[in-house]
Assembly symmetry: C2
Homo-oligomer: 290 residues x 2
């Protein structure tokens, strides 16, 4: 093993980000690109890892995300909830002993439903570890596949996924509505109205209504994107909002947009930075294995 310095990689479907994390916990030399596993489709992963080391340093590497799936290095399996940071550390898969490791994914199983994730758990448990969120918390990670997690006594006991970000992109890029909208959503009245309507109505009807409203001159093309986003986020979050504050682990602008949506429906939300959470999570796991 090295002196404790290592490379942490958050390698998902669409993007990957890597950090050099020093022995004292400080991080530097950030690398980010769009070489996600949907592009790799399982090809050339060893070469990609070698290239990352040439860029960042010839150091041990800890990776999380869909790099642990068939589209990445290969399926490294899944742990079953509830899961804490030490479980993740114990479940680490060494693809090159002492040098290159991938974190397993997670599954949630109950009689009624199943759910899966890869990598989001590191952020959630890292946020707990570093005090960014409490040890008992309702957590939301907005994104392509948004995750809602329930943390109890510092462990992730349950989670639910929603394809909110993917659905927004599908409609923007491939549907008839996409032709009458600007590409990006913004906060404000159109977004908030969408959130309120999406929380209470049939989504497929409300989505078509956006196109009709643009064509009849009742909604601008710019507001159309914001209303669409609001409808979807409102639909997603309404089932989760209650007395508990929602701890958002997010990047901007998505964190603020979700905060606005949650507050529009009468909830409260706090934003924790997802990069700090990921660094804290991977660092704790790495120290645990040392």
């Amino acid at each position: 093993m090295s002196d404790g310095t290592f490379i942490a990689v958050d390698w998902g479907n669409s993007n990957r980000r890597a950090w050099r994390i020093e022995a004292d916990g400080q991080f530097s030399h950030v690398h980010a690109d769009d070489r996600g596993t949907l592009k790799l489709k399982g090809q050339g992963v060893a070469a990609e890892i070698a290239a990352l080391r040439r860029t960042i340093g010839d150091l041990p590497m800890l990776m999380a995300g869909t790099i642990g799936s068939a589209d990445g290095w290969g399926d490294v399996g899944r742990l079953t909830c509830p899961v804490g940071l030490s479980d993740l550390a114990d479940g680490l898969i060494w693809i090159e002993p002492g040098r290159t490791a991938i974190l397993p994914g997670l599954k949630y199983l109950s009689e009624e439903r199943v759910d899966i994730l890869r990598g989001e758990d590191v952020q959630i448990l890292g946020a707990v570890e570093s005090g960014l969120i409490p040890r008992d918390a309702l957590v939301c990670q907005p994104g392509t596949h948004s995750k809602w997690g329930l943390v109890k006594q510092g462990r992730l006991v349950e989670f639910t996924s929603a394809m909110t970000g993917e659905a927004f992109a599908l409609i923007r890029d491939h549907s008839l509505i996409g032709e009458v909208m600007e590409p990006h959503a913004q906060s404000g009245p159109a977004f908030q109205d969408g959130v309120r309507d999406g929380a209470n109505g049939d989504l497929l009807t409300l989505l078509f209504g956006c196109r009709a409203a643009v064509m009849m001159g009742r909604l601008s093309r710019a507001d159309c994107a914001s209303r669409l986003s609001g409808l979807m986020i409102g639909s997603e979050i309404s089932a989760h909002i209650g007395a508990k504050p929602v701890h958002l682990i997010a990047t901007e602008p998505l964190g603020s947009l979700y905060k606005e949506a949650i507050e529009t429906l009468g909830g409260t939300a706090l934003i924790a930075d997802c990069i700090s959470a990921f660094i804290a999570g991977t660092t704790a796991i790495w120290r645990h294995t040392a």
Copy 2:
């Protein structure tokens, strides 16, 4: 004008169908292809119309659908609900007097919402005209953009659209779920369970759950398509189902699938053939203009 024989064309976004309708109301020489207006994008429409006449006969032509939009011959405007068959006949746009006509679209306007359609109204009002459905009825036309219409005293007074069919195709063709499903939905327990869940839950969460269930071995790839379809149809129809029977104006297998969904949620449904309805509607309009 001719002896009363004419060509009726149902020309939508994805497909077009044409019939030669004789003076006695009988129809023959059906033509169907996929030259919908999304393919035309407003180009070569006159040549397409001439080619139809070469195939079917050099006869007067009455067209309905998105052929009356910018992607077709051009925007021929919209009537405002409530609308009866005689309003459609009076609103006919002659692009070549006495020879070639396009029916205007419809819009529904209220304080709360707007909605639009092109062509579905001919089927609904034709079904009323020919006694396929009563003069007071709740109507559903499943499809790419499903329509729910309220008919009172023989006139279409209100309608709502849902992008159910389009959303199913988006997910099948462009999403990560599409990779783990068969392309076609079928009736049965997986479909019915989807309908029940879709009527009560958050659609974006339930959709992601299908992918998780396939990957965890709880749902087969064949049942995945049926469950997805059930979720979307259940979500769409739940807001409309009550004491009134639903009059489905549909082709198979979509008519039977919607009937099964409506009955799964405790409603009743009757299926009327949409081709008979369209022929009846266009024939009545044509006689009215003669």
